[in-house]
Amino acid sequence: MESLSIWDVHVQFGGVKALDGVNVGVPRGMIYGLIGPNGAGKTTLFNCVNRFQSYSAGTIHYRGRNLGSLAPHQVIGLGIARTFQSINLFRSRTTLDNILIGMHTHLGNPIAAMLSLPGGRRREAAMRARALRLAAMFGLEEVLEQQVVHLPFGYQKRVELARALAAKPSLLLLDEPVAGCNEEETSELAEVIRRINHEFQVTVVVVEHDMALVAAICEEVTVLHFGRTIASGTPAAMLNHPAVVEAYLGEANVGA
């Protein structure tokens, strides 16, 4: 059963067709890859799902609901969380606060929270307890009270993942999760993504340039090129698909 279905989505920036009829169907429970050369429109597509970007034509459904009428802050309410290509943490805050902000949809009555009424305090305590468990799961216990801006890169990546999971999403959009990571960090994160998929029952969509990672964790991938879907299938099939090879390497190399 498809959980996220993107059908014939078009986005135009001035004269540039950023997305020119993209179709993607992500089955529930899968780790799904979205690949393509730079400028293919992968991040733009994420932004469409997130409602940061409006699209001129096409539809995006999640679990049967059309996302087209939602405001950006309502998307997470349907269970769709994301990370960002360049780390986008709340930099002045601690690891713990970042995870707690990720739980914003579970805040309950804001007035009870603001005045720390009994109900608000109970919720806050429950949120903190869960944040501590999440932090432990991602190996962030020692840096809980540290400002994230001072953390090493690998830690920041994990804070972003923990924060994205804090809302208890059913779909996680990861925009280049291992960009800038070394080999060790990459294999660590691959393991983390697999665990997220298994233990939390979260469908994952990964935009990634690291083909080894894509081949290792994704069951299926869609290839974008100049805003079009050019192929989809298993990672192995895609890496040998002539249209895909051409998109990445240019025409001259086809059949060489």
Binding site: V75, F90, S92, D97, A167
Partner: protein, 332 residues
């Protein structure tokens, strides 16, 4: 002890000290300090919006004025006391703050600063020209009364001390709650905040409203302190500039910063005496110096100094422990 524990003890000691001060210090400046508290209250309000939510306002003098005129008009027409003013004033300025928040939703940075400055000037123009507000003639307020008892400077000192305490408590409670975290999230990254489900429109307008209501409460007290309001004081943008200056000098996103900054801006003209026009120059110089040398403000500077002292203590203690263990210490 945790940092929060120390903060709590410091705050309690400071408030108890302020409460006892009039009894201990002869020739106590109750009037001056009561006036200073009204500035601190205004700065706490501005800090919630500018320091925590990251929305720069050069218009809060307008909300201060709205609070002041609300209570002045009530007192003039219905003979109400400061208590009624403290309820109605913040309510009116909060509601107008909410409306201004909606109008300014799409603005950020310098554009927001200019729009809010425009608001302050608009309020000033209304006060100058609308007959109801009596322009530069101003409105006199009668004897201050609380629960049927008249009070003077010392009474006012305690009233404004209590109101300042309550508003600081409210600000503290909001900031450390999920709502305060959402405000800070908006300041740090609007995009990420939205992705976490934070409704930018709602939270920004609510921040505007709460901040305006707090600053309005400062205005109410200011009116009862002077027992007089006029466009001479409120008809320009200088109060707005003062409050923003207070927050930047004191420390953005810091309650202690609001106290230090509000106190600084309120007291500088007083201590300059005859030269009080130079306060603008002094404030301006302090503002530039802060932005260049200590963007985190006086409170941030103080916090950094205290932490480094504590760290040095801990390091010394650790070195001594090691020395004792090795049998090389002085303690042997």
């Amino acid at each position: 002890m945790s940092e929060r524990g120390w903060q709590l003890i410091f705050t309690v000691v400071a408030f108890v000290g302020l409460a006892l001060l009039p009894a201990v210090v002869p020739g106590f400046y109750a009037s001056l300090l009561g006036f200073t508290f009204t500035y601190v209250i205004a700065a706490v309000g501005v800090n919630l919006l500018t320091g925590y939510t990251g929305l720069v306002t050069v218009g809060h003098g307008g909300f201060f004025a709205i609070g002041a005129y609300a209570t002045a008009l009530l007192a003039k027409h219905w003979g109400t006391s400061v208590m009624v003013g403290l309820i109605v004033g913040p309510a009116v300025s909060g509601a107008i703050g909410f409306a201004l928040g909606i109008i300014c939703l799409r603005l950020g940075g310098a554009f927001l600063a200019i729009a809010t400055l425009g608001f302050a000037l608009t309020v000033g123009a209304v006060l100058n020209n609308w007959p109801m507000f009596e322009g530069r003639t101003g409105i006199q307020l009668g004897q201050n009364i609380l629960f049927g008892y008249p009070f003077k400077d010392l009474g006012f000192y305690y009233v404004s001390l209590v109101v300042m305490g309550l508003i600081m408590l409210a600000s503290w409670s909001i900031v450390r709650s999920g709502v305060g975290r959402a405000f800070i999230a908006i300041r740090d990254s609007e995009r990420a905040a939205e992705a976490m489900g934070i409704n930018l429109r709602l939270y920004k307008t609510v921040a505007f409203a709460i901040s305006a209501a707090m600053t309005g409460a400062g205005g109410v007290l200011f009116a009862h302190h002077n027992r007089y309001v006029s466009a001479e004081t409120f008809g320009n943008a200088w109060l707005s500039v003062d409050f923003l200056t207070a927050v930047v000098i004191g420390g953005q996103g810091s309650l202690l910063g609001s106290v230090i900054g509000g106190g600084f801006v309120a007291l500088v003209p007083y201590y300059l005496g005859e030269l009080q026009d130079f306060a603008y120059i002094l404030n301006g110089a302090a503002l530039i110096a802060t932005l260049v040398f200590a963007p985190e403000g006086a409170a941030g500077l103080l916090g950094r100094a205290l932490r480094s002292v504590r760290r040095t203590h801990r390091t010394v203690a650790a070195v001594e422990t090691v020395a004792v263990e090795r049998g090389t210490g002085w303690n042997r």
